[in-house]
Symmetry: C2
Subunit: 212 residues, 2 copies
């Protein structure tokens, strides 16, 4: 996993290169941010992703502006970030957030085979709501032709994680200022049925069990 | 605000260029993703930001790897994304998420004056928790020397917003599949005091009022 780009010269104590850490963050993050170079300039687009084994599948519409570069694969940087809390130190300088992030580098190849595109749609659907695929209408041939997806191998990358209380300078511990962590998480609320939903169709267990 | 890069060729109905929409998303997002080109390749780093008027201030450590390019300003793409819900359609193809995102392009200049760096730290601190700045130890001259921050003018960019129920094909409305939206939001939990906090210091009102 390591490479010169992922040496984490800043704050190496927060770095991790093990696949277990990296996979857990990729799997929990609902969207990622995909970076690529377009006409020599940086572009960063939020998009859905789903890890399948040693690859991250990326919903390809994000890279549609870079279509020309796509035929042979495109250099990307994929970043996924989870925010776990606000870190309130006694000094302004040591304020921070608790977070978990993954940065992957590599060349993403476009999926072209009908079968891989269908597998990708299955992965995106199951990523949004595990159990959903078995319940939905599967994609038609025409829909698959209209689907674009990339695959990025998990080869070069790293995770960064900050946890725990603020780290203040010793002399600041005497201050009267409250210090600590304000935890944050993603809350899932009661499902809202489509106004066009036929009567008598209740949310399935795999949906209602999402509620926090 | 408009430019060839921000024409939103895909899904233009979801696009917005008005400053009110853009500012609200920038202000609500706790972190952004900063993209830049490094040795010809894309890099995307999550980082704290704070909008101040017509600029977004960016915690500069994110761009430390691109230090050399920084002296004269660096081309960046700053993207901030909020996830509002899972959109469950009857067909796999029409699954989506409700989201609000902003993409800004431009050249970020490094802040160099002590006074601007202090103002930036104030903005970052107040962004994390409004009201915090008045309570903390302000930065020393040495800390300000160790602070790096960029300023990106809000000139070229756009917002994209998806809201509302799934959009299914007409013929799929007859299916037995539940369809709708599962709303999501960021939940703030009870503050956890620093284990080193002196006894008898309660969380201030501006902290305890953050709890969802």
């Amino acid at each position: 996993m390591k490479s010169p780009r992922t040496k984490l010269r800043r704050l190496p104590k927060r770095g991790a290169h093990d696949r277990e850490t990296i996979d857990a963050i990729l799997d929990e993050a609902m969207v990622c941010h995909l970076g690529f170079v377009h006409d020599g300039k940086p572009a960063v687009i939020p998009t859905l992703h789903a890890r399948v084994g040693d690859e991250v599948l990326i919903h390809g519409s994000a890279a549609s502006r870079a279509q020309r570069a796509l035929a042979t694969g495109i250099d990307v940087c994929l970043t996924a970030t989870l925010i776990d809390g606000l870190v309130l130190a006694r000094s302004a300088f040591h304020h921070s957030v608790n977070y978990r992030s993954v940065v992957l580098y590599g060349t993403a190849r476009p999926l072209t085979e009908t079968e891989e595109l269908e597998k990708a749609l299955e992965a995106f659907t199951e990523k949004l709501v595990p159990g959903r695929w078995a319940d939905v209408r599967w994609p038609s041939r025409k829909e698959l032709k209209g689907t674009s997806a990339l695959a990025l191998p998990i080869v070069e990358g790293s995770a960064k994680v900050r946890t725990g209380p603020p780290i203040d300078d010793d002399e600041d511990h005497a201050l009267d200022t409250w210090a600590g962590v304000v935890p944050m998480r993603v809350e899932t609320l009661e499902p809202e049925p489509d106004p066009l939903l036929r009567e008598g169709i209740a949310p399935p267990q795999y949906v209602s069990s999402l509620v926090s």
